[in-house]
Structure formats: C-alpha cells, structure tokens
C-alpha cells in the first residue's frame, strides 16, 4: 500500500523510477500557483507606493531608504492586489504547514533534503559549485537525488526565506502586532518589516528564476513529468 512508487523495469535501455511522492507533487503545484499569485498581487501592492523606508514610519514627505525606479500606480483602483495577496497567502501558508508536517512524518526532510554526511566539507562543496559554474549538472539519466547545492538552497527556502516572509508580512498587521508587538520590533519597525518583506520576496523570485532555468537545461519534459506523475522516466545513456 505504501509502496505505490515501486520501480518498474521497462526494458534494458530505459528506466522508470519513483521520483516525487504525491504530497510533494500536490504541495509543489499549489505552492507554485499561489506563489505566482502572491508575486503578481505583491507587485500591484508595491506599485501603490514604490518607496522603501527604514524604521517605523515613512511617506513621500520623508526621506526614503530606496526609491524603486517604478511609477506610483494604483493598479485598477479596486484593492484586488491586497485581496488576491491574502487569499493566496492563506493557500500558500496552509499548504506549507501541511508539507512541513508530512515531510517530518515521512522523513522527507532528513532523507532527501539534509545534506549527506561528508557533503558539507570544503572539497565536495567547492566541486559542486565549480560544476555549476562550468554548466555541468546532473542530466536526466542520473540517479534521482538532490545534490548538495540543491539541498542547501531548498532548505534555505523552506526554513529561512519562507518563515521570514510570513513573519514580516504579519509584522505589517496592526492587529497581529497588538497581540505580539515583538514581531514588528525585531525587524526594527513597521517600515523596516515592509522593506525586509520586499527583499525576501525578491530573493524568492530569484530562486524561482534559477529553479525554472535549471529545470529547462536539465531536461524540461522529464522534470515536469516527474513532478506531475511522480515517475522519472528516460533513456539510459550507454557508457
């Protein structure tokens, strides 16, 4: 019953092996869609006031930390940005909780994402970085595990960027901080939390761009198939 991802032999020159569990696939796609909605609506919210400040307060009459080279636009004048941002944030956060809980129970984190013993040493780490810089990365036929850089980046996204972007989002809520004032104080104030939220979002967008680029160059069809069907299928390369 648990072993629905049983490997199947399809012939000598092809392989068909389990890659992603159902929980990983479903939460991946819900997160992908809600993150896309969060970026679009976040941009709409930012355009209402594309200036960033540090501290508690800031407005057009005060000095800014950064003036983003964007126009001041109320996109559509309807507040849809905020509404879409919140409904997709709920979808993303609830999915994230489900994923984290299930990954702890199924040991997905410790099995697939924690760097393998020995991989955190200087030599294997620098080799992985050099391989990436030389545009040499695992191709379709290689064993379906994550390399040390992937593991570190996924862990950083899941356990650092994601919790921090939720915390800075909540820090901008006067209702939430009326119960937990420390939440906004640790970031140095309301406007600081807003600025940090922007940079965290930018980091996540950069992660997404690299993630999609890597999927494309390492075999778009086979990676997409794996994240949809759960199976990694391909032709073996004769060595």
């Amino acid at each position: 019953m648990a072993n629905t991802l049983k490997p199947a032999i399809r012939g000598m020159d092809t392989f068909h092996s389990p890659r992603h569990s159902a929980v990983v696939r479903i939460t991946h796609w819900i997160t992908a869609f809600s993150f896309f909605a969060l970026v679009v609506s976040g941009a709409a919210i930012l355009l209402a006031h594309p200036r960033l400040y540090w501290g508690e307060t800031g407005s057009v009459e005060t000095p800014s930390l950064i003036d983003l080279p964007l126009p001041f636009v109320l996109v559509g004048q309807s507040g849809w940005g905020r509404s879409l941002h919140f409904v997709s944030a709920w979808a993303c956060v609830l999915t994230g909780f489900f994923y984290a809980l299930s990954s702890l129970l199924t040991r997905h984190f410790s099995r697939d994402l924690l760097p393998v013993r020995g991989d955190l040493a200087w030599e294997p780490l620098s080799r992985a970085v050099l391989n990436h810089l030389h545009l040499k990365w695992p191709m379709e036929e290689e064993p379906p595990t994550y390399n040390v850089l992937q593991r570190l980046v996924y862990l950083a996204v899941i356990f650092i960027l994601f919790p921090l972007i939720v915390a800075t989002g909540l820090a901008m809520s006067p209702a939430i901080t009326s119960v937990v004032p420390a939440l906004v104080e640790v970031f140095g104030g309301y406007e600081s939390a807003r600025t940090v939220h922007f940079f965290l979002a930018s980091s996540l967008v950069i992660f997404l761009v690299v993630h999609i680029a890597m999927v494309c160059v390492t075999g778009f069809a086979s990676r997409m198939r794996a994240m949809i069907t759960g199976y990694h299928t391909g032709r073996k390369v004769q060595t």
């Binding site: 407005s59 507040g79 509404s83 006067p174």
Partner: protein
C-alpha cells in the same frame, strides 16, 4: 484485495463526510460568534473570512496597539484626500464648528446628540500610535479624544447590537436611509468599538485637529489600517446589521473592492 479497496473507500468516504460536516459546523459557529465579515463574497471572501476569524480569535485576550514616546512623533502627519467641499462642511468650518453636533442613534436606550464642548467634558484619553495606509506609507501621531466606549455607555447600547456605523458630515440620507455616492462611511464590530484605544479624536499632536486630518472629530482605530479611521464625523448609528446600508458590505470601501476588515 476487494476487502482492502472497500476499507479504503470507507475511510475516504468517512473522511469526506467528516470534513464536510466539520466545515458546516465551523461555518455555523463562526456566524454565531461574529467571525464572519460583512463582505465575504466570492473567492477573495475565503481569504477575508479566514483572516477576520483568525484575528478575532487571536485578539480575544490582551490586545493593545503599540504606543510610542513623544520623541517618535512624525514631523509630518500626511494628509490623504481633501476635506469635504460641500456647503455644510464649509459653513461649519467657517463658524469654528460651534454649530456642529454629533448624533448617536440606532439600537441605543437614549439617542443623543453632543456638541464639541460636551464631548470635551467627557474623560479623555491620549495615545501616541502608528497609522499605516494600505498603500504602504505611515506616520506616528498623538491623538486625544473621548473613548468611543464612553459615548456608547452614555447612550446605552442594546445587547443585540453588532455594528457601530460612522457617517461623515453632510451624508445625505435619502430613500431607505441610503448614504449618497462618494461618502466615506464605515463601520466597526463591537469588539473594536468597545476597545479602549478606539477614540473619537478632537486633538492631534497637542493641537486642535487640523482640517485635513478630519476636523472637528474623527475616529481613530489604531488596530486597523488608516482608512477605517473615518474623518469629519457627524453621526454614529448602532445596529444589528449593515445589510440595509449601501450594498450591505458594512462600509463604502468594499463597494469598490477594498476590505471591510483592515486589521490586515
């Protein structure tokens, strides 16, 4: 094998039924305990309901908007939007608001009206709080006024009351009590209305409330975004529903797509 499928089907069906039943129960309970905002239509309404219910549960205990020191007060309290251009407002402004009165009516034991002098005789409260606009800018100012709870106690609120509704000067009440277009009216639930930091403010930073900031009297709701703090107040109505006003969303903002609940 068939026994296995039956058991699995049983479990799945059981889970689906339990899920549907608990959703129905949750929705009934949420309604009963005032955890549903008046604007909860459509796909965005799902987010509105979750946020509002989560905040109300979280804020059931101790919950005070942060207060600051005098040194933190912003040099500029940014004014958003011009004061009303209508004749009534201009006439009251020219007369130093001597003829202005605040009407309090609806589900109350003693419908009343207050002059500014009468409001200033009530116990006052000063608080230095942060105010953020939904757009992202913000300032800190000191606000002085009478707690809304004091006025509500004076008029005696009916136990059936669920909302306190705020109208600015020169809201024209025509057929069926409908405020005319382009009037910024709003409402609070009773938890926010009774909260000690919810003020009817007549002073800002130690001076009379400036015209642009809402003279003669404005609402200050420091646990929500700035747009809930209605300026130029003239009437407060206590009610058990907001369905009969405008489109029934509890404020003018949601009629354009903005949210009634702005604790964010």
């Amino acid at each position: 094998m068939s026994a296995f499928i039956t058991r699995r089907r049983l479990i799945t069906t059981g889970l689906a039924v339990t899920g549907a039943a608990s959703l129905t129960v949750a929705s009934r309970l949420a309604d009963k305990y005032g955890l549903v905002p008046p604007d909860h239509d459509g796909i965005y309404g799902v987010g509105e309901r979750l946020t509002y219910a989560a905040h109300r549960l979280l804020m059931a205990g101790r919950s005070y908007a942060r207060e600051f020191d005098r040194a933190d007060i912003s040099k500029v309290a940014r004014v958003n939007g011009a004061p009303p251009e209508n004749e009534t407002y201009q006439r009251l402004l020219a007369g130093g608001f001597a003829e202005w009165r605040l009407t309090v009516d609806g589900l109350v034991a003693h419908p009343s009206s207050f002059s500014m002098a009468e409001l200033k005789q009530c116990p006052s409260r000063s608080q230095i709080t942060h105010q953020a606009c939904e757009e992202g800018w913000s300032f800190i100012a000191e606000w002085t006024g009478v707690p809304l709870s004091h006025v509500l106690n004076l008029v005696g609120v009916h136990p059936r009351a669920k909302y306190v509704i705020f109208f600015p000067i020169d809201t024209v009440f025509g057929i069926a009590d409908q405020p005319k277009d382009k009037i910024r009216w709003d409402s609070l639930d009773m938890a926010e209305a009774w909260h000690p930091q919810t003020l009817l403010a007549y002073r800002m930073n130690g001076r009379e409330l400036p015209t642009g900031n809402g003279a003669p009297l404005r609402l200050r709701v420091p646990r929500q975004l700035g747009y809930k703090s209605v300026k130029y107040l003239s009437r407060i109505t206590v009610s058990d529903t907001v369905k009969n006003i405008g489109k029934g969303y509890g404020a003018s903002g949601p009629e354009f797509g903005y949210s009634w609940y702005a604790g964010i």
